[in-house]
């Protein structure tokens, strides 16, 4: 009898669990107690053991012969795959599902590069749209710090979220509601609001209007921060709405309905937004999500954002694949594709466009499936390789908050099953690459040199006794951040997002953003607008990461000099744990010298809304 601490493989909440093994068989999976004493798993986590010996489990390689898949030795199957990959007429496409360990994703990527192929993800929960928007607007690769932020919220915006799909989030929403929090749902299903939350039913083709209507609410409710209001971009935005106040295709909710929404969050101190797959996989999801996040930040309506919880290791796959990844749904539609390798997903069963997909699969010269279960895609497969479950292999997975967690091997591999990285190595050797890492830890070591945010994680730490290691280290700053990007960036609703990204240089190596709304969003401590902000912030303040102040020899509460191109001011400092080291947030009192720095904000194209990043430098006063 042994108990192996591991991680649930079924969604990117990645709950910690204990695998109970006896005589090489999994007998049970149990929750592990968190720091707060809670020990929760959803139905999937409690029943992890059922996948190991599922009747549909693949345990042997198969090769299609005379129209039928017949059992083959692993060597025959691997040679057949190598031969087909080697003779492909166009670059083979490797479509990776969300259930692979980071190391396996990396190994398949290496194989794909070796054979001149491309990689894509079978992203069905909208992780790519979420990642894009988070980076564009908030400058971070991940969402809110942890699930307890949802439980502690006093207002939760649920946008296209199916709570049944993510029980751990659902339980936190329930807890928040029980503690008096309000819930506002935006969804295509009006019935989703049956639990007493305010429901705003959205026609499916109107999802894109939500950011606009939230921005409209800012104007109608006269909520915008005075600093932001005076900015050139905000005036443009006001004119934009005033031009067609209640008609045309812009008005989606009436002013009255917009104000009702505003009333929900006007007094919220800890508002969060949760974006679900019905939002993140809608048409133009990337653009819509960027605008929605901008609107939420503009309103001060969400201190934190949680996105795309649905699938297991989609976040890790995106980390590892980086810019190479394209959604498989787009990639397999490309003309000329003749070889598809599907790894860790049943594309036919899960694709929302199954008819078009099966048509494509029918015409492909080669389809290879590497998976744990015999799914619908198998009927198109020419070669099949059996892979293993998370309880049968060591590896890492990255959760929706950016923490890298361990899967621990608890039971032996059945039949000829192997981790995907071993299949990749075996195929790769036939392409002349003899040196492939032998263990999960050595794969991790090789991977971290190519995945920037994993570089600080030492393999001996990850593969030691630790269950989870934050790629951001132990500095309390939360999930990893993207170097050179600010925490908050806004653009006008029709938005040219890239135009807000202004360069830094040696003279002004930092970025400063202006306005109480931004400070409010960043600290998460205040959100009752102007009156309260004035009470909380009686003087102009400049927030910076604690390490920045320490380097200058300045203690929080002391003054420092902030310099921007064309101006400088002395201002009282404040430490903000959540800020990255290169970002400053200035909250100037109207008419004070620091407020003059607002004039230095250029606002490209006249389209900024007042919290445009300004190159800046901080000195000891």
């Amino acid at each position: 009898m042994a108990f192996h601490p591991s991680t649930c493989p079924y969604c990117s909440c990645a709950c910690a669990l204990l695998l109970h093994e006896e005589n090489g068989r999994l007998l049970g999976s149990y929750p592990r107690a968190g720091a707060d004493g809670r020990a929760e798993l959803c139905m999937r986590g409690w029943n992890c053991t059922s996948s190991e010996s599922h009747p549909d489990r693949l345990t042997a390689p198969m090769v299609r012969n005379a129209g039928r898949l017949v059992r083959a030795s692993w060597r025959e199957a691997v040679e057949e795959i190598a031969s087909r990959l080697g003779s492909a007429a166009s670059p083979p496409l490797f479509a990776l599902g969300p259930t692979l360990a980071n190391e396996d994703v990396f190994a398949v990527r290496r194989l794909a590069r070796r054979v001149g192929g491309r990689v894509s993800t079978t992203d069905l929960s909208g992780v790519q749209a979420a990642r894009f928007a988070l980076r564009q607007v908030l400058g971070t690769g991940y969402g809110l710090p942890n699930l307890e932020t949802v439980a502690g919220a006093d207002l939760i915006w649920l946008v296209g979220v199916d709570l049944e799909d993510c029980p751990q989030v659902a339980s936190r929403v329930t807890q928040a509601r029980r503690d008096g929090g309000a819930v506002v749902r935006f969804d295509v299903y009006a019935s989703a609001g049956g639990d007493g939350s305010r429901m705003v039913a959205m026609p499916p083709d109107e999802f894109g209007r939500l950011p606009l209507i939230l921005q409209q609410a800012v104007i109608v409710a006269n909520l915008a921060d005075p600093e932001a209001r005076a900015a050139a971009g905000f005036e443009d935005l006001t004119r934009y709405w005033q031009a067609e106040p209640a008609g045309g295709d812009r008005a989606w909710l009436s002013d009255e309905a917009a104000l009702a929404l505003v009333r929900e969050f006007r007094f919220a101190r800890r508002p969060v937004a949760v974006l679900g797959s019905r939002w993140l996989t809608s048409s133009r999801a990337e653009e819509n999500t960027v605008q929605l996040l901008q609107a939420l930040v503009l309103l001060g309506a969400a201190n934190h954002v949680l996105t795309a919880v649905g699938e297991a290791n989609s976040w890790g796959s995106l980390d590892v694949l980086g810019a190479e990844a394209r959604p498989a749904e787009l990639a397999w539609r490309e003309a000329g594709l003749d070889t598809l390798v599907v790894v860790g997903d049943d594309l036919v069963r899960h694709s929302p466009c199954a008819a078009a997909l099966t048509e494509t699969l029918d015409r492909l010269r080669t389809v290879v499936v590497i998976d744990r279960f015999a799914g619908d895609t198998l009927r198109f497969a020419d070669v099949v390789l059996p892979s293993c479950t998370s309880a049968e292999t060591d590896g890492t997975t990255t959760n929706v908050f950016g923490a890298v967690q361990r899967w621990r091997r608890a039971v032996p591999l059945p039949g000829d099953c192997c981790p995907e990285r071993l299949w990749a190595s075996r195929i790769g050797r036939l392409f002349g690459v003899e040196e492939w890492p032998a263990t999960a830890a050595s794969w991790f070591d090789a991977m971290r040199y190519e995945v920037e945010s994993y570089l600080p994680i030492l393999p001996e730490r990850m593969y030691g006794e630790n269950d989870a290691v934050s790629a951001a280290g132990d500095d309390g700053l939360g999930p990893p951040r993207v170097a050179g990007q600010t925490r908050v960036r806004l653009a006008a609703p029709a938005g040219d997002v890239a135009s807000t990204d202004r360069g830094q240089d040696a003279a002004f190596p930092m970025r400063m953003v202006l306005g109480a709304h931004v400070a409010n969003w960043s600290t998460g401590t205040v959100s009752q607008r102007e009156e309260l902000l004035r009470r909380e912030i009686p003087e102009s303040t400049l927030a910076a990461a604690p390490a920045v102040l320490e380097t200058l020899g300045v203690k929080p509460g002391w003054t420092a000099k902030v310099l921007v191109p064309g101006g400088e001011a002395t201002v009282t400092t404040r430490a903000d744990l959540r800020l990255p080291p290169d970002v400053l947030v200035l909250v100037p009192l109207g008419g004070s010298p620091p407020a003059q720095l607002r004039r230095c904000c250029p606002g490209p194209g006249g389209r900024s809304v007042g919290v445009q990043p300004i190159p800046a430098r901080l000195e000891r006063a």
């Binding site: 108990f3 204990l18 107690a33 798993l41 409690w46 029980p167 751990q168 339980s171 807890q175």
Partner: protein, 348 residues
């Protein structure tokens, strides 16, 4: 047998002496935080400083999943016993909490009752040497004191240990317990009057330190009399996430399902797995009809079963021992203690 004491430092020697006749199981930490009952070896420290284990010890006697038998060829039905059934040595569990010992007695009664005896599980329970460890202080979720299940016991164990600091006091109640002490008699000494005094003070003190209470009697009365409006069940059930965790961590829950799993070309295993009455498929019939398709009906039935039916008609006690595990595991706040409080407050 008169109470004995044993120094905590020689406890491993006592467990080692038992290892000849028993498979010794003791609470151990896994991954630094979670405590489980696991096979004891002399290089693993026994943890005495824990509130309770993650899962109850029922998983040792009634595993979450086990093979009942193996069929090689269905046409000729060659049966062989499942691998777990042939365990050779009986279990000796050290460090069993009072609530879990009460739960074990409950399970024994269930698996022996009503004209059907589960020989395998009964053999495991009845052959086991149960060595409980009385609680020095309750956990934040514990309410065994409301369920006649702790924090210490007057019966239902072979040996009850109580932690007196550097030594443990052993209260022996059965011949099996006496034989176990006799196997390592040199490690034990007769308890002194001071030991008994300290023991008595400790038991009195811990009884008074429970923070959580559960309205068991009010719950039984109001549920049995049907005084809880259907709308209440429907409202509460909205918070149920259907994870089944409350059933799996409950020391008295005994529901299981049986499935056949292929284990070769012509072979399969017949397996028994824990099941949960809050799962939608739990009462679904072969015809497709489901008498408890709605979550509210399942929640209502669970509480009726535990608080009323089992108490009044079958077991003579509630199907709850106050271990508090459901408090820690329920995502919707529908654990026994919390929901009975809501019944008490909202359904007079």
């Amino acid at each position: 047998m008169r109470p004995m004491t044993i120094l905590e430092s020689v406890l491993p020697s006592f467990l080692a002496a038992l290892a000849g006749d028993y498979r010794v199981v003791a609470p151990q930490r896994v991954g630094g935080a979670d405590v489980v009952y696991a096979d004891w070896t002399d290089d693993v420290p026994v943890d005495l400083d824990f509130v309770n284990t993650v899962v109850p010890p029922k998983m040792l006697f009634f595993p979450a999943r086990e093979t009942l038998f193996h069929i090689e060829d269905p046409r000729h039905a060659t049966l062989s016993a499942g691998q777990e059934a042939g365990a050779t040595k009986p279990l000796a569990i050290f460090g069993l909490r009072s609530c879990d010992a009460t739960g074990l007695a409950f399970l024994e009664k269930f698996f022996a009752g009503r004209g059907f005896e589960d020989d395998t599980i009964l053999a495991r329970i009845r052959s086991a040497l149960t060595m409980t460890l009385a609680c020095r202080e309750p956990g934040a979720d514990c309410f065994c004191v409301c369920c006649e299940a702790g924090p210490w016991l007057t019966a239902g164990f072979d040996i009850q240990f109580s932690d007196l600091g550097d030594r443990l006091l052993a209260d022996v109640r059965t011949e099996k317990g006496e034989a176990a002490i006799a196997a390592a008699s040199s490690l034990f000494t007769l308890a002194t009057p001071e030991d008994l005094d300290a023991w008595s003070r400790q038991l009195t003190k811990v009884d008074a330190t429970f923070e959580r209470r559960s309205f068991m009697a009010a719950g039984t009365r109001r549920i049995s009399l049907g005084r809880i409006p259907q709308e209440k069940w429907e409202h509460w059930a909205e918070d149920c996430r259907g994870c089944g965790g409350c059933c799996f961590v409950c020391p008295t829950c005994s529901c299981f399902t049986v499935t056949d799993r292929p284990s070769g070309d012509d072979a399969f295993d017949r397996e028994r797995q824990w099941d949960a009455c809050l799962y939608e498929g739990f009462t679904r019939e072969a015809s497709g009809h489901n008498p408890r398709a709605a979550k509210a009906e399942r929640l209502k039935r669970r509480f009726f079963h535990k608080m009323s039916y089992q108490y009044i008609d079958v077991m003579g006690r509630h199907g709850c021992v106050g271990c508090g595990r459901c408090v820690a595991t329920c995502m919707g706040g529908l654990d026994i203690s919390t929901l009975l409080t809501r019944i008490h407050d909202e359904c007079p």
